[in-house]
Symmetry: C2
Subunit: 390 residues, 2 copies
């Protein structure tokens, strides 16, 4: 049995980055760049007006004849004399002979001439060519996360494809003869299988939308056979149920027989102790506890950073927040506790009913409060660390 | 021109909840319940062992004959005499004659009998029937957000469908003769159209995955015609470009001629001032500024809460965080500023290059720092309010 901190280190060290792929910019939200992107053009590509107004060559004159017009999309390089200006709109091309744009609110305009009431400084309201980026300049370094703003910036440079780290293909293997599919009648002694849809939804929150679910009978042969195929085709395998000290658990044996290397088994924590983590080549295997709340806890603590690491994220873990306790906590277990809790701007309250079987508490919680294994008492108003899951 | 706070109020008051729909639990992540959900079964559905161990009737005896076995999924109500126990596993049915489970680690086991080395308290390690919820008990109240844990809890009660608020159908209408599709050659004077993919990505972050993009020429007839169809079929319409004081902007006229009621036009803020907000029946129309950074700012500030309101969320706005300033800010504009900035656990730094055309700054930022219109100076280390966008 190892400590939480060791388990986290082993997970991070063994989850390698996925290979890269080329993807359309419009589909790249939530991916991480695998290569630095350079700009094919300068942005703006020409000197642009930042305002609706009039472009002219700055001087001491206040009166100008309006000789032409430039609207967005135009590219007529009108020649301007000293006393001439053109009508111009936001985003439009500024002719080479002009160096300044005056806002339309600051002029008195007649049919063919303007009088500038408030003279702007020279070069005002003109965006220089390449002000945002020059041709061949670095748009984004490798390992940048693609956000909506990043997509906008890439698109405005005319970039349609980028190279990102692939998202891992994830399989969820469910074992357990006691499990019945929701929607069917529940025979006595059985329970509904809920971990697969729960884990699929949890994976969706980190952008893995198509996790595939496999179900097998609780026996060594069926489990071994299912795992053989899955290990060849998937990058991350989550197994639900089947890892505890029960006599009827075949999963660990099936994993080892399939060449999965055990990296750890059992963590000194509550809930979520009976977890197996291993790998075969680049494929990661998490055999999660069967109890739904334990399973989801370990998803957030271990699977989440492993998948984010594979996707190329720099910050792989859930962010840690510090809040003050609304009531004291004691921990005589010697284990690290992950308590379902509710935090607000300043404080955090531990919820009742922490049993590892209780998903309803989890559905109410917005964070997991961490009590380290070597801390026996936390006092009211003491600062504690929590992982937000909202 | 109205203040930001008034604009926010008008948006919230005019964005009605969408109609409800029935949806499969496995597809309900990110939806909000439109109806309270009641449990069709008790959970657990029977008295369940919380441990791998032995079930027996609690007494002063320490030695028991092991007469049967109950593994998860079994439902054999074995009769037990006073000195008899059964082998039992986590999640398995506890026979009526037993009231306590002892962990296997706390017994010495022979082939057919056990000696309890550490006697548990009566009722220990037995989960009562209905401990989590009774039959017909409230699973979730209406207006609960469906999280991975909520999906797990619903599924474990055998619930396969729930009633949620629909997500709005969103259309993005792009106007502008100066715009060229990324991937094509850029003629002089033109720029690439980037707002549509950017807004699609921003919508994806709130779970609206299929926003449809329409492009029209910069003239009244084309805009009017396109809007007529869009207003009939969509719940939220985002228009990019075409709302400013430029002579070549037909959007506002096309909206009013299509029966859209103006709720406000122009907000006392920077960037993002030239925005139109209106409605026709339940459909909301946001004509966003054409500048990409202004457009995205107003998406986060106004469109985000409007869509969350339509989806049934209780907290409709981005959360507000308080951080200390790394450097002073002055605001002589009399406008509310939304500054692209980077925050960490304690502080926030305003980024250079705040121009409304500059998306690269937005792509680097992880928050928008709010400087209220009536605040002229903010000092270093002063607490400020920001909207996280990471």
């Amino acid at each position: 049995m190892i400590q939480v901190s060791e388990a986290l280190t082993i997970v991070a060290e063994n989850s390698s980055k996925m290979p890269s792929q080329i993807i359309a910019v419009g589909k790249a939200l939530g991916y991480v760049l695998a290569e630095t992107v350079y700009s094919p053009i300068a942005m703006p590509p020409f000197r642009q007006s930042a305002m609706d107004g009039y472009a002219f060559r700055h001087s001491i004159k206040h009166q100008y004849d309006v000789v032409s017009i430039s609207q967005a999309g135009d590219h007529s390089n009108v020649k301007l004399k000293e006393n001439e200006a053109i009508r111009i709109f936001t985003g439009a091309f500024v002719p080479d002979d002009a160096d300044t744009v005056v806002m339309q609110e600051h002029v008195m305009a007649n049919e063919n001439s303007i009088l500038i009431a408030k003279m702007p400084e020279q070069f005002a309201n003109v965006r220089a060519k390449g002000e945002q980026i020059n041709k061949n300049g670095i748009v984004f370094e490798a390992n940048t996360l693609i956000t909506p703003a990043a997509i906008g910036f890439l698109a405005c440079l005319g970039i349609t494809e980028i190279t990102v780290y692939k998202k891992p293909k994830v399989a969820i293997l469910v074992t357990g003869n006691e499990l019945v599919k929701p929607g069917k009648k529940l025979p006595k002694g059985k329970i509904y299988e809920s971990n697969s849809v729960m884990l699929q939804a949890a994976l969706q929150t980190i952008g893995v939308n198509k996790a595939k679910v496999f179900k097998v009978k609780d026996n060594l042969k069926a489990t071994k056979k299912a795992l053989k195929n899955i290990l060849e085709k998937y990058d991350v395998v989550l197994i639900s149920g089947g890892i505890s000290v029960g006599d009827y658990d075949f999963v660990k044996e099936a994993l080892l027989k399939n060449g999965v290397e055990e990296l750890f088994y059992k963590i000194n924590q509550k809930p979520g102790k009976p977890m197996f983590f291993g790998s075969k080549k680049e494929t990661l295997v998490f055999a999660l506890p069967g109890n739904p709340a334990s399973s989801l806890t370990n998803f957030y603590v271990y699977v989440y950073p492993a998948i984010r690491n594979r996707m190329g994220f720099s910050d792989i873990h859930l962010p840690k927040l510090a809040r003050k306790l609304n009531a004291g906590i004691s921990n005589s277990s010697g284990k690290t506790l992950f308590l379902k809790a509710l935090y607000n701007e300043t404080h955090v309250t531990v919820l009742d009913s922490q049993s590892s079987a209780m998903l309803n508490t989890f559905a109410t919680a917005n964070c997991l409060l961490i009590v380290p294994n070597d801390v026996e008492n936390l006092k009211k108003e003491q600062l504690v660390t929590l992982l937000p899951i909202d």
